[in-house]
Symmetry: C2
Subunit: 164 residues, 2 copies
DNA sequence: CAGGGCAATGTTATACTGTTGCAACACGAC
DNA sequence: GTCGTGTTGCAACAGTATAACATTGCCCTG
């Protein structure tokens, strides 16, 4: 099963999480990176939620599981996961979300629904090219690109058009 | 004089600030919005720095001028300035910068130099189109778009190639 | 000009997000 | 074993942003 299921459409979520975890394990193994219990648990929690989670949300969830973690624990796990492309940080939300294309080293584009708060990641060749072109026209060398589009997903547009 | 001078190139900075202020006054007058002393001073400080400033940087500057302001004062001024398109918030830096195309209501693209920390705003029709296309292909309706490209400006690329 | 209404600001406290620095522990290499 | 390195625990703190309510100032109207 692919990871391309839209978060705001029904999909087999358990399988979706399981796939992400398997992928992560495989990636880490290939790189000799240690997917320790905390790191794995953080990644699971992020995938299970399927919406962006703040670091302190994660902290609270871990606490509820009896793991009395402090902020650095979570931030370190998130750093690790980001470095290996397993999660993304959404700057405009101060929150983190599982990466659905962890193997590719693309710049993601995030569609952030203000209705249901779901986030859909996609990687658009056209957008990447346009940004690269605009940058190089200024003589600028990009290193890291943030593209976040807040708005309304199809589902929430409908609901707004048809109020209860 | 236009606002298109590149921040990392020498330009007549006093004039640049003066122009931005004049523009702001004119915009506010046209909309019956009150560019009060605090709001104007915050806008001036942002333009004078010509680099992104954090809210607490502004707070410190105001304090140094004898204006004993609290955070909400600055944030409220920034909210006002953002609403009228006079400043932008750079999400990836938690900082604010003067808008160089305040009259137009388009989505800006920010080139953020990690060397000199200057930010250059531009508005690329091509990027906007590409993002609109990618969004609508998903049935998504954009409301607010954040595009921030961190990297190296031409000047800093040179300096890096030729270390002191 | 008194008083009412509204926008802007002042003030205090607090919530939320992220980092530093150091100690303790785990695990593989030698 | 023990040494080195990477990971986690822990305490304190730094930085960013907002809530809630009081106060001020200004315009408008009667």
């Amino acid at each position: 099963m692919s990871h391309d299921a839209l978060p705001y459409r029904p999909h087999n979520h358990d399988a979706c999480v399981r796939d992400a975890l398997a992928e992560a394990r495989s990636i880490c193994q290939a790189r000799n990176a240690r997917l320790t219990p905390i790191r794995q648990r953080v990644l699971e929690l992020i995938w299970e939620s399927h919406k962006p989670l703040g670091a302190y949300d994660l902290l609270a969830m871990l606490a509820q599981e009896g793991h009395n973690a402090a902020p650095p624990t979570v931030y370190r796990a998130l750093d690790f996961l980001q470095q290996h492309g397993l999660v993304h940080r959404i700057a405009s939300l101060n929150a983190f979300i599982g990466c659905s294309h962890a193997r590719e080293h693309h710049t993601g584009l995030f569609l952030i629904c203000r209705g249901c708060r779901n986030v859909h990641e996609l990687s658009s060749e056209g957008v990447s090219r346009a940004i690269a072109a605009a940058s190089s026209a200024e003589g600028f060398t990009p290193v890291e690109t943030t593209i976040e589009v807040a708005g309304l997903c199809p589902r929430c547009q409908q609901q707004q058009a048809t109020p209860a």
